[in-house]
């Protein structure tokens, strides 16, 4: 990511009396990035988040939001410009869903009509029926309330969102649905998000980068891949055994794509001995538009010859460029082969992934 830095913490600490609950934490979050803070209960995630919008004042260090030191900004303005989803949902029980969603607009004294329009827009965004606007929070399930919590945070169209375990109160299936919806939404809204969770799968799934906290300290920061490669004992035990697979689940096959391989046009004249084919048993055959036709054994060719359409084998199962490496590896295991072609939805041949290419990605 090359975007502008939207949120930056520099050696930030927080003391409650003698207790140092956040200890010299530093990180940067760039425009459009989802930065996940994760760690065991009580490690200081919520406190760190709340220092960004100054619900909790920091004891030392500096916090910058859009390049400005938060202590020099008007706190009320700062908070209104940052969407906040709190850990315990915190819908206002005495207000309808509409008034809950539009609460920040009410605080800013926006016209009623605008509030209503925005609430209608957002309830749709988070996938709830329009009729729910008239309801009260207690008439909604936990998962529905969490959706409203997200809608409310988006009301003033803030550039920055702070989300504290936004999907904490729901079953795994709903949780996954909400995660997918947020990711899809993020494609279009491109907010800068600081996301707190204590679920490593969620961290890998949501986070462009992940910061792991322990006892107030930020132990490590990196992508899902960086994290699984981490040697630190705490990090390893925290992410647990299956973490490699969770991490692979977050990585698209394009990251391990081998593009540099023998590709030939159909009906072309091919010399199997040409240097570019060295080390390859097969060549992939495409038509003039790059559409995949199959593959052909180079070993069976005797000297240069035109490609014989009858000898072209159709591709075994393939995967899409958007599929995860986990999915591709599963496909390979089930098909007992060491590689898998990657073909776009339009049918263009893009390359292959192999055990080898996955392993070298993990190795680094």
């Amino acid at each position: 990511m090359t975007g502008r830095v939207e949120v930056e913490l520099q050696n930030v600490s927080k003391f409650y009396g003698e207790d140092k609950v956040v200890d010299e934490v530093s990180f940067q979050v760039k425009q459009g990035e989802i930065f996940v803070l994760i760690g065991p209960s009580g490690c200081g995630k919520t406190t760190t988040l709340k220092m960004i919008n100054q619900l909790v004042p920091h004891t030392s260090g500096s916090i910058f939001v859009r390049g400005k030191d938060v202590t020099e900004l008007d706190t009320v303005e700062l908070r209104r410009s940052i969407g906040y989803v709190i850990q315990y949902i915190g819908l206002l029980p005495h207000l309808t869903i509409q008034d809950n969603i539009a609460f920040v607009l009410q605080l800013k004294k926006c016209p009623k009509k605008k509030q209503r329009e925005r609430a209608m827009e957002l309830i749709e965004t988070v996938g709830l029926p329009l009729s729910y606007l008239e309801r009260y929070p207690r008439e909604l399930s936990g998962g529905q309330q969490q959706r409203v919590g997200v809608a409310r945070a988006l009301a003033a169209d803030p550039e920055i969102l702070l989300m504290d375990e936004p999907f904490g109160a729901v079953d795994p299936v709903t949780r996954e649905q909400l995660q997918n919806e947020l990711l899809r939404l993020q494609e279009t809204i491109r907010k800068t998000i600081v996301f707190v969770t204590h679920d490593i799968q969620e961290a890998f799934k949501m986070g462009d980068r992940i910061g792991i906290m322990r006892g107030g300290k930020l132990v490590t920061i990196g992508t899902a891949m960086d994290i699984v490669k981490e040697r630190d004992d705490f990090v390893r035990s925290f992410i647990g055994q299956g973490a490699v697979f969770s991490a692979l689940d977050t990585i698209p096959v394009t990251r391990a794509l081998i593009r540099d391989l023998p590709v030939v046009k159909k009906e072309a004249l091919v010399d199997p001995a040409q240097p570019a084919f060295k080390g390859w048993d097969y060549a992939f055959v495409v038509d003039d538009r790059g559409q995949s036709l199959g593959y052909i054994s180079l070993a069976e060719m005797e000297g240069p010859q035109k490609i014989d359409p009858d000898k072209v084998e159709p591709l075994p199962s393939s995967c899409l460029p958007g599929d995860s490496l986990k999915k591709a590896l599963e496909e390979m295991l089930w098909g007992s082969r060491a590689w898998l072609p990657v073909v776009s939805e339009e049918g263009s041949f893009l390359g292959i992934v192999s055990f080898q290419s996955c392993a070298s990605l993990l190795a680094g």
Binding site: V76, R80, I86, P93, H94, T96, V104, L107, L162
Partner: protein, 217 residues
């Protein structure tokens, strides 16, 4: 028995004009007391809910005042405020402090911290927090305190008759001194009815207001 009821009714009919006038006085005195009590105790309650240390002292003082017999308070106020409605309303105000203060405080302290934090996190100023979140959410409990006070006040207003404030106490105390049971009853029954009625009225108001503010159930 039937005869004495009949005799009471005919007596009541004769003095109905006087009863009506005294009832009106009584109502106005009671309402003024409840209003003055609410207007002083709710803001004070808000203040002390933010300062728990001072708060417990203030509630203790209100509690001590609450236990002083009404006759004593009136007697004490007399040299300063003279006779009439003023000492009565001041006494009623003093009695309303404890229930309203305590309920205001309890209501505000009972507001879900998550709701407060959400509001602050969205950029509510402290007055927006108070008027848009804390008071509406504490409203049913504050209102319960005010209703308790209303019933209490209608009873205590009776004592106003002793300092020439008027009200139904006139009938009751004159009745006592003349040992006239019919007169005592003619004062007591409207007092009871008034207390019930006022409580009901406030109940309806509360319901209406909470519907409007969404604090249902």
């Amino acid at each position: 028995m039937a005869e004495s009821i009949l005799s009471f009714l005919s007596y009541f009919w004769v003095i109905r004009g006087q009863v009506a006038e005294l009832t009106l006085q009584h109502t106005l005195l009671s309402l003024a007391g409840v209003l003055a009590g609410t207007l002083t105790a709710v803001p004070l309650g808000i203040f002390i809910s933010r300062r728990p240390k001072i708060g417990s002292y203030v509630i203790d003082i209100a509690g001590m005042l609450y236990t002083i017999p009404s006759l004593a308070i009136l007697g004490f106020l007399l040299p300063f405020l003279g006779l009439g409605w003023l000492p009565t309303i001041v006494a009623l105000t003093i009695y309303s402090w404890l229930p309203v203060l305590r309920n205001t405080c309890a209501g505000l302290l009972g507001v879900d911290p998550a709701a407060k934090e959400a509001a602050l996190g969205m950029g509510a100023t402290s007055s927006q927090l108070l008027f848009r979140v804390e008071l509406p959410m504490a409203f049913p409990i504050i209102m319960a305190g005010i209703r308790t006070v209303a019933v209490l006040t209608v009873g205590i207003t009776t004592m106003g008759a002793l300092v020439a404030a008027g009200g139904l106490g006139n009938l009751i105390f004159t009745g006592i001194s003349m040992m006239d049971n019919r007169m005592i009853l003619a004062g007591t029954i409207p007092v009871s009815l008034l207390a019930v009625l006022l409580d009901k009225l406030l109940g309806i108001l509360e319901h209406k207001a909470s519907l409007k503010m969404g604090v249902r159930g």
